[in-house]
């Protein structure tokens, strides 16, 4: 599960990055309107070279980079909650009454770390679509990426020269904004994440409390103390 954390954050970021895209004719789009908040039940599948994990849960997102993700067991118990605020991340494991918190940059150097770099890439808004359906672009961290659009000017996928890739599919229009029902991220490290949204609510008010972990009575440790789930 530890390897999932960066990918989860990545996914949330993808929500916004992909909000301007649609692979098929969409009705009701409001030009210039974007997703400021997102609240949605989700299902998530995370695959690594060592195996796969998945579950269902709930995701709350607020621009620019705050989110709260809860992953549930089949019986409904909360297995994992992840909170992101800027470059800080808190991973709460209710069954252990323990949270790991710190800067994203301080995450242990394990296999999933590569995906943090992806996250930073993903949160960047893609260049505005032009007449071409494909544009090369240099990201803020100096990497080269290729962004693919459909004929409505929305992003279908992004790829870096290193081999990281994100794909947005099955777009629907919510509150005038195109939003992908499915997102798939494939990291060059061999990890991939697929997230499916179920009737997401866009641009509805998000209470501040929903984005802050309740750490009363919880043992909070740095990421360096993380020994696995």
């Amino acid at each position: 599960m530890h390897r999932c954390i960066p990918l989860v954050v990545l996914l949330v970021s993808l929500c916004l990055a992909g909000c301007a895209a649609a692979p098929k004719p969409l009705v009701g789009l409001v030009p210039g309107k974007e997703a400021e908040t997102l609240q949605s039940p989700i299902s998530i599948a995370i695959r690594t070279p060592e195996g796969g994990r998945g579950g269902r849960g709930y995701l709350i997102f607020k621009r620019p980079d705050r989110f709260h993700l809860a992953i549930l067991s089949p019986f409904g118990l909360t297995m994992l909650e992840v909170f992101s605020d800027g470059d800080r991340l808190t991973c709460l494991i209710p069954s252990k009454n323990t949270a790991y918190s710190g800067r994203i940059a301080d995450l242990p150097a394990r296999e999933g770390l590569r995906t943090w770099g992806l996250m930073r890439w993903v949160v960047e808004k893609p260049p505005v679509a032009g007449p071409a359906l494909k544009r090369d672009h240099v990201t803020a961290d100096g990497r080269r990426e290729t962004v693919f659009y459909d004929d409505q000017g929305v992003v279908l996928r992004k790829e870096t020269d290193e081999g990281d890739r994100v794909v947005f599919s099955d777009y629907q229009v919510y509150d005038g904004v195109a939003f992908p029902s499915v997102m798939e991220i494939s990291a060059v490290t061999g990890e991939s994440v697929r997230i499916t949204f179920d009737e997401p609510e866009l641009n509805r008010p998000v209470e501040e409390g929903a984005l802050k972990p309740n750490l009363d009575g919880v043992t909070v440790l740095p990421f360096s103390a993380f020994q696995g789930f």
Binding site: R56, P74, F75, T78, K96, T196, G217
Partner: protein
């Protein structure tokens, strides 16, 4: 995840746990009703509605599905789409499948946590309460509610199981220490219906 599952199975078979020194009479009485209900069946199936209330959110997540159980140790739970999942436990082998994601996860629990092991205890009347948890029993009319409060600082603060006088489960409530709450309601419960192997397939 594993601990959560085990806790649930303990709940359904709470008599199997080690004994507690000072028994609460109402708790014992309620647990014995539940135990007898299980002892008298060979299988059961029920529709379920699961409501998850995250403490930090106003909105509930509601899922519907079905559970099936067959002695000596096969348990199946399906939550319907969207975000559906299938869970199958055969003795101590747990498999979870997410059909929409094309993913299957399998884990083997320690032998002492196998379903058959827990079921073996059901033949014995309950005379003591389990260790490591506080248990209370409350009878209201034709229903019992047994409250189970695990000791320690784990994620589950309290389990409440409500059942009728024949031991048929009506509702299961899981209170977590983070104030999240899950309520699973059981409807259309049928016992001894002759469930077959095909009723416990993940595909």
């Amino acid at each position: 995840m594993k601990k959560a599952l085990i806790l649930i199975f303990v709940l359904f078979n709470v008599a199997a746990a080690p004994a507690q020194a000072v028994p609460d009479k109402k708790a014992l009485e309620g647990l014995e009703v539940l135990r007898r209900g299980f002892a008298e069946l060979t299988d059961f199936t029920a529709e379920i509605t699961q409501e998850k209330q995250l403490a930090l959110m106003k909105q509930k997540m509601v899922s519907r599905g079905v559970i099936r159980f067959r002695k000596p140790g096969t348990f199946y739970m399906e939550l319907y789409p969207p975000n559906g999942s299938l869970l199958l436990m055969r003795d101590n082998v747990l498999t979870i499948r997410l059909p929409e994601q094309g993913m299957t996860d399998r884990m083997v629990l320690p032998p002492e946590q196998s379903l058959e092991k827990w079921m073996a205890f059901l033949s014995r009347p309950i005379t003591t309460l389990p260790e490591g948890m506080e248990v209370k029993g409350v009878r209201q009319g034709d229903n019992w509610t047994v409250h189970i409060l695990p000791a320690g600082t784990g994620g589950v603060k309290e389990l409440q199981i409500t059942f009728d006088l024949e031991g048929r489960i009506r509702r299961l409530t899981i209170e977590e220490r983070n104030r999240d709450r899950t309520v699973i309601r059981f409807t259309s419960m049928r016992r001894n219906v002759g469930l077959k192997e095909k009723d416990f397939q993940l595909n």
